[in-house]
């Protein structure tokens, strides 16, 4: 059971079950806990090959035991996401913890990934359960509906879920080439039906420099 203690600490109450969490993110626990390293990107041999090829290597540990375990990551804000069979797309660096019952995998994001400064691949979380994602500053959850597409700065995007199509749009004009760009040369456009998580801070991206 995930619960937030303040906005920066995640407390997980466990009764013999397990959670997957980012390596080294445990700050304290009581009761009995065992920590074991797992590797992200999916299970089995296929997962291993995917990880090697994609570079989306999140080092994950499995925490199993009885008691309460507290997690935190460099004082980042934590957001809880409930999944009911849908899929969450999140950058591996923004994923803090998931229920052990959730499946994690890797997907190709194309040009959008490169513009975010995160590489060409992203992590997916799928199943029924809870996940905790971290953001630099409190994240806002924006709804995308068929009538209202959403356009997000690649550096501020952290995750999305639901039935959403994403495309990449650029506002590059001749001005950009003269160094007169507005700093918003690239955006990600979301269409469909779902939720997008946006943080009030921008990572360094190629797009941000233009």
């Amino acid at each position: 059971m995930f619960r937030l203690q303040g906005s920066k600490v995640l407390a997980v109450d466990m009764t013999g079950d397990a959670v997957k969490a980012k390596n080294g993110s445990m700050v304290a626990y009581d009761g009995q806990m065992a920590f074991k390293k797992l590797s992200g990107g999916g299970e089995g041999l296929r997962g291993m090959v995917t990880r090697r090829l994609t570079g989306e290597q999140m080092t994950v540990m499995e925490v199993r035991g009885h008691g309460t375990c507290w997690f935190a990551d460099r004082a980042s804000e934590i957001n809880l996401v409930g999944l009911q069979g849908d899929k969450l797309y999140v950058e591996s660096s923004n994923l803090l913890a998931t229920d052990a019952g959730l499946r994690t995998g890797t997907t190709f994001t194309g040009l959008r990934g490169a513009s975010q400064g995160n590489g060409l691949f992203t992590t997916t979380v799928e199943g029924h359960g809870q996940a905790a994602i971290v953001s630099d500053g409190p994240a806002v959850v924006l709804r995308v509906s068929p009538q209202y597409p959403l356009i997000v700065d690649p550096g501020a995007y952290i995750a999305h879920q639901g039935n959403v199509r994403q495309s990449f749009q650029s506002g590059v004009t001749f001005r950009t080439f003269f160094g007169e760009g507005g700093g918003e040369a690239f955006q990600i456009r979301f269409e469909g039906d779902g939720l997008v998580y946006v943080q009030p801070s921008e990572r360094n991206t190629i797009a941000g420099d233009l």
Binding site: Q5, G6, S7, K8, V9, N23, G24, S25, M26, V27, A28, Y29, D30, G31, M33, A34, F35, K36, K37, T59, M61, E62, G67, W70, A72, D73, R74, A75
Partner: protein, 216 residues
């Protein structure tokens, strides 16, 4: 209650005539009233021997004495500030985490080896506390700094608490702490979970943990 939290990163202290406060030098942000700040060469209380003790122990953060009547605002480096009220028991904290404390508290230096011998020394190295740590004892309040927010975990004899050494801030009460290792063959081959060392606190008291694994 001398300190009042204005927001998560700033505290307000009320200074009354005849009372003293100690604070980290340069941590004053603003003040109202007639307040004087004098650098404290001794780095705290006690006589010459205490001063020498702190110098030798490397627990001598530059302190200043705050006296007069008025209110003073303290904050430092954008760190989160947490106020701990002591009622007669002893607080163990690193000197550089101390923002300000009541002059009524007795300040001391503890040798890590005195709690658990050699393992105590190893613990000091792993947690970055070094060989010595500062103790504050008595009735009064202390403002400590941490990276990220601070939360408290109660320790009871039935429920020992394990803390990541890097996230440990301070503890008080009748608490024994020891370093527990969960080193397995996986850590040897570089496949560790990143949680090889843990600080095990048992007894009765409270431990303060920060929401981050970064030092100040």
């Amino acid at each position: 209650m001398t300190f009042r939290e204005i927001n998560s990163k700033m505290v307000e202290a009320t200074v009354l005539p005849g009372q003293r406060l100690f604070s980290q030098r340069g941590a004053m942000l603003a003040y109202k009233g007639d307040v004087s700040f004098t650098p404290n060469l001794q780095g705290g209380q006690g006589g010459l021997m205490s001063m020498l003790g702190r110098r030798v122990a490397g627990e001598a953060t530059p302190l200043m004495t705050v006296e007069g009547s008025g209110t003073v605002f303290f904050g430092h480096g954008g760190h989160h500030v947490h106020v701990i009220n002591l009622t007669g028991d002893t607080l163990y904290v690193e000197a550089d985490r101390l923002l300000a404390f009541d002059g009524t508290l007795r300040q001391g230096t503890m040798f890590m080896g005195s709690q658990g011998g050699v393992m105590g020394l190893v613990r000091g190295q792993v947690t970055g506390q070094g060989l010595f740590t500062t103790t504050l004892q008595g009735q009064g309040s202390v403002a400590v700094m941490a990276h990220g927010g601070v939360f408290e975990i109660p320790i009871t004899p039935q429920r020992p608490v394990h803390v990541d050494p890097q996230a440990y801030v301070a503890h008080h009460g009748d608490v024994r702490n020891k370093l527990s290792t969960a080193l397995g063959w996986r850590d040897m081959v570089g496949r560790g979970s990143g949680e090889a060392f843990q600080l095990e606190l048992s007894g009765s008291g409270t431990v303060y943990v920060q929401a981050s694994e970064e030092k100040l």
